[in-house]
Symmetry: C2
Subunit: 472 residues, 2 copies
């Protein structure tokens, strides 16, 4: 059978308009968020779990490789087809029909195609939100398939921690539907199968529906910019802030001076808040928040933050060089501009890393020491989630740098960095972006043979079909 | 080969004294925390991961069934041998050598044999603790194998949520050691294999070492006893308390009047705090806490609790019948005495259930309506974790009740309750005790065939040997 016969068969299963094969229609589904241009054999857009099952079953029986795609905002080529034109895209973008809020349970049942922003807009009246805070606006299926973290991980954890249940279609000949979507917070009656589908890029099955934990919306927020006296004392600062602030601390983000300068240059509406306009070498964004409305007799959060910072100043000599308590909107505007700002500095070579919390700054210090002699003229513009050990380690090279013509340069640079991360620090080469074609080689390089063997065995049990951009 | 030859072989692997075969020496390892008396072929007590691997490998190669045992405080016969005398006990009680605290990372690496109380005692100086609060004092391996929850689940979650890494020995011919013990909070580089070993009673492998998340010790606590006007309005009370108290709320426990009366009768040192000494039908224990030392200008937690309760009183007419803010030690003493108190009322038939949070009270109301006509003279003495949907649903029958002579009575009663829990409410028949011989029949009854097939397939990939008291 040729491709057009398969497309006709898929159309008979889920409807004429639900399967795209026109090159122009497919373009948005074949192109990733960064750099990545692939070619799709077709794009199937089922609108129910049963339709997903029908598509997957058909493709497995006919040995057609499928790449599930959700919001397509990922950064590792985990949701787009390769350039061969043989892979079909299984888009989840029409799986938006399910939305069932349970206020008493603080949970929501939702289709995998719902966007994060749409979900939160629909929860606002109930005073609730899904507490994963991201720069991008992904759909839920992709958030689950990558197990995203974001800026409030420190308080609320990752997607895994906030998932109560899933509905999944396995890539087997039957397109088996696994209903793991009970709405319970505690249920220890065997293997917690849903965990296998979280963070594995669709390779073990396609998530079509989820039950998510919700949290009360923050109703009071205060933020400060902290300038540590030296970057190696940042872990000490974090420990002290945690001890003094307990559950109030909701973000503890690191921003390199280079990243801040890039953002200030790129977004003229941002105010430069630093003394004399001089951007410090490294800045911490600290946020505290609480979900109750202000109460009679309650200290304001600005006061709390000021009291705690005064105390740090007085009792921990030399820890802080300076601190500015300022309006959350303005301070977060700067934080959210970093990513775009850095991209405009030149060609971005981005790493999504994590470490033991005490090691983040040691790694950054080592990079500042050793990168220039190994790879000269590469700027370090890192920022990230120091509070949970994460860092978006961004390297920027001038766009006209001749080395960029040579594939070997970027590969050598990546391998040099990753070897230090994984082998010297025991860190992760993909903290919250999961595995796609872009970091497949590093999965193969750093995953012990024993684990790779088990991952393959597990796939044979659950989803033997050819599904997902990643090979586990 | 006969048993004595196997015991000699095991002794040559891990040392003469580390393998018990004397009936008296083995008694404590063969008897469970409740009712359950088994017979062990031997008890092997390895002291390192390598020794566990040697024992497991030997037993798999010789087809000797093993039951891993940790603190043996579980309630479902998940860690003791059956009565055949053919199963060996693999005790983790000597795996206590590893203890490595990382204050900056707020984590600890510890051996699976460490007791919860010992762990917390060693963490106290650092102002940290492992935030799973239980009546029993289990060892860590068992807490992981059952994924315990406890009284502060609402704030801190279960063991799964607080586990960063594991070291596991698989039940294969090699006794393969899987090192999944990185200390990272974020790492999405493939299947998160450690999740498979959490809550599965050792059937997929033996946990020998773990890396756990730690939290700051609470340094301010306030508690109250709340008397709801009617039990069906408890979910509303919970939602209101969560909205008003945000992250401060650390426990919201339900206690039936019957359970309280049993505790007051059994423990004479408990003070009866209720007006006129009349025990209400249902009482909520609410706790709020924070980990910072009192700060200048900060409202005390007693004041916070009183302000919030006044507000509930004024704005939600008829929600609360009464409320008493009282000393945490006294209030928790009553809560912790419930379990012992109930046991002394008669023969206990205990259920460890969970529901959507909004359904807990509806289930309890239905039981109060329907149990008497179906099973007369059975007292309902429930208590539990209303804040996370959990309830220890305890039924008590007079010890001299003739029906107890008949096995059919207890089985019929259990099946009647469980069918309502699972089929009518979509609840769990094992919220935080996992699966052992005692509830194996209910795993077989309520687990869909598809899931059982996958669980068996997964076991063949990971741990094909005969290990664990549960059959998945």
């Amino acid at each position: 059978m040729d491709l057009s016969a398969h497309i006709a068969a898929l159309r008979s299963l889920i409807g004429e308009a639900a399967v795209l094969d026109d090159r122009a229609d497919m373009a948005a589904y074949a192109t990733g968020a960064r750099y990545d241009e692939g070619r799709a054999a077709f794009v199937a857009r089922p609108s129910t779990t049963e339709q997903v099952s029908a598509v997957v079953s058909y493709c497995v029986r006919n040995d057609i490789p499928l790449v599930p795609q959700s919001g397509n905002t990922g950064l590792v080529s985990g949701s787009t087809p390769d350039t061969t034109g043989t892979q079909g895209v299984l888009s989840l973008d029409r799986l938006t029909g399910v939305f069932d809020l349970d206020v008493a349970n603080r949970s929501v049942r939702a289709g995998a195609g719902l966007r994060l922003s749409d979900l939160n807009a629909r929860l606002e009246d109930a005073g609730l939100f899904f507490p994963i805070d991201l720069g991008a606006d992904p759909r839920l299926g992709g958030m689950l398939a990558t197990n995203t973290g974001g800026s409030r991980f420190l308080r609320y954890g990752d997607v895994r921690r906030n998932t109560l249940g899933l509905k999944v279609v396995l890539a087997d000949e039957e397109g088996t539907v696994l209903d793991l979507s009970d709405e319970l917070r505690k249920n220890n009656t065997g293997v917690d199968f849903k965990q296998i589908f979280i963070g594995t890029s669709g390779a073990y099955g396609v998530i079509t529906e989820c039950v998510l934990n919700l949290e009360a919306l923050p109703r009071q927020v205060a933020t400060a910019l902290l300038m540590p006296a030296s970057i190696d004392r940042v872990p000490e600062l974090l420990s002290h802030m945690e001890a003094a602030l307990g559950g109030y601390l909701s973000a503890f983000e690191g921003m390199s001076g280079n990243a801040i300068s890039a953002a200030l240059d790129h977004v003229p509406s941002l105010r430069n808040p630093f003394q004399g306009g001089i951007v410090p070498e490294f800045v911490i964004l600290a946020e505290i928040s609480r979900s109750n409305a202000p109460r009679k007799g309650e200290q304001s959060l600005d006061e709390v933050l000021e009291t705690v910072l005064e105390e740090v100043w007085e009792t921990h000599e030399g820890l802080l060089a300076d601190a500015l308590v300022g309006p959350p909107q303005e301070i977060w505007a700067m934080r959210h501009a970093l990513s775009e700002g850095v991209k405009h500095r030149g060609r971005l070579i981005a790493f999504d890393l994590s470490f033991r919390r005490g090691d983040v700054m040691a790694f950054l210090a080592r990079m500042r020491r050793e990168l220039p002699s190994n790879f000269p003229d590469v700027a370090i513009c890192d920022f990230g989630h120091v509070g949970d050990g994460g860092v978006h380690f961004n390297l920027v090279v001038a766009r006209d740098d001749a080395r960029l013509q040579d594939d070997g340069f970027e590969n050598a640079l990546r391998t040099w960095v990753f070897d230090i991360v994984v082998r010297d620090f025991g860190g992760s080469f993909s903290a919250e972006h999961a595995i796609g074609r872009k970091n497949q080689a590093y999965y193969d390089r750093y995953t012990p043979a024993e684990i790779r063997r088990l991952a393959t065995g597990l796939k044979a049990v659950l989803s033997p079909g050819r599904i997902g951009a990643a090979r586990f």
